[in-house]
């Protein structure tokens, strides 16, 4: 059993003022970078591969492998650091910006060194003005100390880090949309292939990594891949930031090893369900990941395999906890409205399907839905999944498909046929409140 007991925090350690470079340096800061530049580029990539680190942005792609896709040679290439953090239930990257910005900067520099990148862009969602300012201040310090810019650590390697502010669009977190946004285009996701490692930003080879992923890279170089790979789940190792929100007594971001049991996270780490209520449902990895019933929560561990076993995935490790009073129909309605609002609108199935789903889920919320509507929801999902340029359409369909099948009775109870049987109050019911 993997547990928080005895775990030593490395991403967000309890050290005051760690955002100041002197404090950071005192606690082993930039040692990982120094280690990296003493190795060859390939050795750095191999170290990351060996660590078993998988992306923390949602898709969980092995980071070392991703870095190795970058072509060799002296073509101009870029790193895009994904701090768009738009997935509902996800609020971890802002903690890194606030409490350990240099760890992220260090990881970014290591990535740039390993892949021969001279410019990294940090794409941060537009709302995060406060965190942009914190990061900029830390970045200025790092420039002043010679960690960023020209001839870093006297090793003749140059990298600039540029912060780019978003402006309110969830889709910009999708990597190819992010690239179009950075290029000043309408941020439509791009068709793949070609993949970013061939044709990315401004047509050049590009790697995109999540902020937390890059912070982890710094830890790997500082502590070594062997140390790192022993933390947490064997096939999905490392420290991870769990964001726990909803009906728990102590919501927040908690660092722990991967592979922790979902139960420990909810009941111990986050202090259990508010007001002593019972658990109804948990979304384990941000709003797009399939929802879990209490029976599945019992069994689930927070790593790729553990979550696959209960029919969901790790996503961003943003855990949304819902108590017994939660109106899941209304909850799904909120998510469907969100995806409808955020579809970029280029692909037919997503542009039209997201709105249609919201409307039908709205019928359930209003108590006017029928069995036909239920069946139709599943058919619309089937026509959206795997038919589009990016995964937003899937992300919109999965919550619908899984919520209405895993909590079928709750949706059936809201059908007009069952109106009298269930005795529901059909006025638009807000999700249970404070």
């Amino acid at each position: 059993m993997i547990s928080l007991a005895g775990y030593e925090k490395v991403i967000l350690p309890d050290i005051p003022n760690l955002n100041q470079i002197a404090v950071y340096e005192k606690h082993g800061g930039y040692e990982g970078l120094k280690k990296a530049v003493s190795l060859s580029q390939d050795d750095v990539i191999n170290e990351v591969k060996k660590s078993g680190l998988r992306g923390r942005g949602g898709a969980g792609f092995p980071t070392g492998l991703k870095w190795s896709f970058m072509p060799k040679g002296d073509k101009v290439r870029y790193l895009a650091c994904n701090g768009d953090e738009g997935e509902p239930g996800t609020f971890k990257d802002r903690q890194i910006f606030e409490f350990n910005p240099h760890l992220f900067i260090e990881g970014t520099l290591i990535a740039c060194y390993a892949m021969g990148i001279k410019t990294a862009y940090v794409y941060i969602r537009g709302e995060y003005v406060k965190w942009i300012n914190i990061l900029q201040a830390s970045l200025d310090e790092a420039y002043a100390k010679g960690y960023v810019g020209q001839n870093i650590l006297g090793k003749g390697f140059n990298t600039d880090i540029v912060i780019h502010r978003g402006a309110g669009a969830y889709i910009c977190g999708e990597e190819s949309s992010l690239m179009n946004s950075l290029e000043g285009k309408r941020p439509y996701p791009r068709i793949k292939p070609p993949f970013p490692a061939q044709v990315g930003l401004w047509g050049q080879p590009t790697t995109i990594n999540n902020i937390e992923t890059l912070a982890n890279a710094a830890v790997i170089l500082r502590k070594g891949a062997d140390w790192y790979s022993k933390i947490g789940a064997e096939k999905h190792p490392g420290p991870v930031l769990y964001g726990i929100s909803g009906h728990v007594n102590k919501p927040g971001v908690y660092e722990g090893p991967t592979g922790m049991s979902l139960k420990e996270l909810i009941y111990d780490v986050a202090g259990g369900i508010k007001n002593g209520k019972k658990l109804k449902a948990v979304i384990p990895g941000g709003s797009s990941t399939p929802i879990l019933t209490p029976e599945s929560v019992e069994k689930a561990t927070m790593d790729a395999d553990g979550l696959r076993a209960v029919g969901t995935s790790m996503g961003t490790a943003g855990i949304i906890v819902m108590d017994e009073d939660t109106d899941l129909v209304e909850a799904l309605h909120i998510l469907s409205k969100f995806y409808h609002h955020e579809s970029c609108g280029q692909c037919t199935p997503c542009r039209e399907g997201t709105g249609w789903l919201e409307k039908i889920v709205g019928k359930f919320a209003a108590g006017t839905a029928t069995q036909q509507d239920y069946d139709l929801l599943l058919k619309i999902c089937a026509n959206m999944e795997g038919r589009t340029v990016c995964a937003l359409a899937d992300a919109a369909a999965w919550p619908v498909r899984n919520t209405i099948t895993r909590f079928k009775e709750e949706f059936e109870a809201r059908m007009i046929e069952n109106k009298n049987k269930a005795g529901w109050d059909y006025s638009m019911k807000a999700v249970s409140g404070v």
Binding site: I191, G345, T354, G355, W356, N383, R387
Partner: protein, 574 residues
């Protein structure tokens, strides 16, 4: 490379996309956003196929029990418009794959949920890819039971283009065309999700010289022509494959005619000439073919019969010495009319042949040529027969000095192009073969109405030396539409029986091709010529002009023939 589509193997050269290959080998894959002349956007999701590639083992391609390659299928359908084929690829379209059939049904259902379904009042109906694809691949009905999204309607995007945002399916063809082809980025998609639609910046018009092409490439009725809106259903018009004569580019077009009136012109694909496009000025240039036409011969203001006109022509020509007669040939007229005129008047003893230039501005990056005439290159060839052409200035001087006393104008307008009206009084006769009531026709003693490019057959040579043919889209008085072999027919002409046809024989011009009128006057002036048909005249010309030697009407067809590069300077054979 070998690629299999729907169980049929094709040998492939190059690296086409699946969709390109399919259209080449005649397999239909429905699509909306893909256009061969634009970048790939892959957004409509209509062209989905299942694609698989052979599984590679340690010893090359792995084989199954039957000795056939094991195919690795992709995890989900792929867009054929954006996927290049590869060696051994196997593709299933909706014809052989239930997954794809359902996916395409799904896409069409999605497109239609917010589409107005106002086909009965939509201009595009009858030539609408959305309508056609829905018919062939779509669901039987809709399961959508909510109010549709509302968006702006009847938006004037520019002087020629109207927009209905509710019909728009966001394929972005028009945006890509404006950016990539017209190089005039006046359009964009605004907003996002199902609120998005096409717009210009407020106060800036979609007015680039190629703007109207967006109407043709719009796969629905969202973009329509201000000049054509609500004029006709598509199936009521005949469409004739011909060319635009608005400049020296000679863009290939279809002329659309109802009640013998041209209602619109649209470009016709010809990769060597105009790809898929044409300019707005050329497109709207048909108005002069409908209006202000000279109809019926006139002498000094009074109408004449055609017999009287041809004896009047003979009399007029005999009233001046051939050496004092000048003939203005025309870069607007067919090679055949020019050839026939030159032959006729040479035999009469005329020495002075005059040619005007019409150059305005500069060639642009795409199609528009500074030379506003369609057939200067033919006159270049005919110069060998006519002798060196005289310029307009020299003609004016000759009339002024009295050395030229009679003037015959073949489908040209010298008095609208620098020849002063006051010189008319120095001419004892002015004969004009005219299509329209221009300055020259108005001044002329004898006006012979000439068939326009929309009513005749003949050849034009464009700036690149490509010889092409105009074909009659309209009939002249005394002609029967269905007897004119080259005239395009409407779906009514072809499929309806006579009581279904309510086309009216209006808008008919009483005119004749110039060669025909010359032939009719020949014996009266004592000239021996035999002009029987444009094709016969062309073959006579071809026998005299080296570069045309192997060219025939049949070879020219509807796509044209590239003459050898020496076309312009080629010497006359005889």
């Amino acid at each position: 490379m070998k690629v299999t589509i729907d169980n049929i193997e094709h040998e492939v050269n190059g690296k086409p996309t699946i969709l390109e290959l399919a259209s080449k080998v005649g397999v239909e894959i429905p699509h909306f956003c893909y256009h061969p002349g634009l970048s790939i956007s892959g957004n409509c999701r209509m062209c989905l196929v299942e694609a698989g590639t052979p599984k590679m083992g340690p010893n090359g391609v792995e084989l199954d029990a039957d000795g056939k390659p094991v195919i690795m299928w992709g995890p989900k359908p792929t867009t054929s418009c954006s996927t290049p084929v590869s060696e051994g690829m196997v593709v299933k379209t909706g014809k052989t794959s239930k997954v794809i059939e359902d996916a395409q049904k799904g896409v069409l259902e999605f497109i239609l949920i917010n589409h107005p379904l106002d086909c009965p009042i939509c201009d595009q109906a009858g030539e609408c890819p959305l309508q056609e694809n829905t018919f062939k691949f779509g669901p039987e009905g809709s399961r959508f039971e909510f109010e549709k999204n509302h968006k702006p309607k009847r938006v004037e995007l520019g002087p020629n283009v109207m927009f209905d945002a509710e019909r728009c399916i966001n394929c972005t063809r028009c945006v890509r065309f404006s950016d990539e082809v017209a190089k005039a980025p006046q359009l964009t998609v605004i907003q996002r999700g199902d609120h998005n639609y096409i717009a210009t910046f407020p106060g800036i018009e979609l007015d680039n010289p190629y703007a109207m092409n967006v109407i043709d490439i719009c796969p629905v009725g969202a973009l329509t022509s201000k000049h054509f809106r609500f004029k006709s259903r598509v199936w009521e018009m005949s469409e004739t494959d011909t060319i635009c004569t608005g400049c020296a580019n000679g863009c290939n077009v279809k002329m659309w005619v109802k009640n013998n009136e041209i209602l619109r012109q649209t470009p016709r694909e010809n990769q060597a000439v105009n790809q898929w496009w044409m300019c707005d000025e050329g497109r709207l240039g048909f108005k002069s073919l409908n209006e202000n036409r000279v109809s019926g011969p006139r002498f000094k203001g009074s109408e004449l019969s055609w017999e009287a006109a041809s004896s009047q022509l003979a009399d007029s020509l005999k009233s001046v010495q051939a050496s004092e007669l000048a003939v203005v040939v025309s870069p607007f007229a067919t090679l055949e009319d020019n050839y026939a005129s030159i032959k006729f008047f040479k035999k009469l003893g005329v020495k002075t042949f005059v040619r005007y230039q019409h150059v305005k501005g500069q060639d642009d990056h795409l199609l528009i040529k500074a030379d506003k005439t369609p057939n200067q290159a033919a006159l270049d060839l005919l110069e060998g027969i006519a002798g060196k052409f005289t310029t307009g200035e020299k003609l004016a001087a000759a009339i002024e000095s009295g050395s030229i006393k009679g003037l015959v104008v073949i489908e040209e307008n010298p008095f609208g192009n620098g020849l002063s009206d006051s010189l008319k009084s120095k001419l004892s006769i002015l004969v004009s073969f005219s299509t329209n009531w221009d300055e020259t026709a108005k001044l002329a003693d004898l006006v012979i109405p000439a068939a326009s490019v929309a009513e005749t057959i003949g050849t034009f040579i464009n700036a690149k030396g490509i010889i092409q043919k105009v074909r009659p889209a309209k009939v002249l008085k005394l002609q029967n539409r269905s007897l004119m072999r080259e005239t395009g027919l409407s779906r009514w002409d072809k499929h309806a029986w006579k009581y279904d046809k309510w086309a009216q024989p209006t808008h008919v011009t009483d005119a004749k091709p110039t060669w025909e009128v010359l032939e009719s006057a020949a014996s009266a002036v004592g000239v021996e010529v035999s002009f029987k048909s444009p094709e016969q005249i062309f073959s006579k010309a071809a026998s005299e002009i080296a570069v045309l030697k192997d060219v025939t009407y049949e070879k020219i067809g509807t796509a044209g023939v590239q003459l050898t590069s020496s076309a312009k300077t080629e010497a006359v054979l005889s």
